[in-house]
Amino acid sequence: MKLVYFAWVRERIGVAEEDVTPPAGVATVRELLEWLKTRGEEYAEALKYPEAIRVAINQEHVRHDERIAGAREIGLFPPMTGG
């Protein structure tokens, strides 16, 4: 699946997007965030407070208990500040 990052999540991780294949057992958004934190210091720093991270699956907002099966694109970003 493709992961896309925005704002300070993108800056801290250091890339704007990447393709990843989470291991079996990573079923929900919450588990995906925990797994990503193990991928390196920059991920651990960006996702230090996972509850602050907003998530979209296939460009629609989801909660952290949403399942990720079938997701083509998952966006991770801070709370939004548009308008």
Partner: protein, 155 residues
């Protein structure tokens, strides 16, 4: 009742008068047009610009969903939302919401509803460009903006 929804995400400035004319032009049943413009502030002289990042694709889709929700709730004839991205100087317009309806109440309410949801649900992020040249930070989301959504709750 069908509602014409127009959503544009662009780096270029826009003209409010042109958008007002476009939303009511040719529709003799429009009796009220409400516009809201959000501008870039200088925060007491400390900022010289804002940089606005967005999630291409999702930004358009999410604003479209917000407009559809507004159109279900109030009898609006047409809704236009324009949101800019990229570097925006002090005093420039960042966002425009235009709502048209037969009577004023629907247009006022729909415009306010859309701005409230746009602030906390449309995927845009503001980064400061500081006047003193030091590295600016990302603007923090305000809890008050999140709370503002609850007043639109209903069964």
């Amino acid at each position: 009742m069908s509602c014409r929804v127009t959503v544009r995400i662009q780096s270029e400035p826009f003209d409010t008068a042109d958008e007002m004319a476009a939303i009511s032009g040719g529709d003799s049943d429009v009796g009220a047009v409400v516009t809201f413009s959000g501008l870039c502030r200088d925060e007491a002289g400390t900022l010289h610009a804002l940089e606005i990042e967005h999630y291409p694709g999702m930004a358009e889709a999410e604003i479209g969903r917000i407009a559809d929700a507004a159109a279900k709730r109030w009898p609006v004839t047409a809704l236009t939302v324009i949101h800019r991205h990229g570097k925006i100087g002090i005093g420039e317009q960042i966002v425009l919401v235009v709502a048209a309806s037969r009577h004023r109440h629907a247009a006022f309410s729909a415009a306010e509803f859309m701005m409230d949801f746009l602030k906390s649900r449309a995927p845009f992020w503001k980064k400061e460009h500081r006047s003193d040249g030091t590295e600016g930070s990302w603007v923090d989301a305000k809890e008050a903006d999140e709370r503002a959504l609850s007043r639109w709750d209903r069964d």
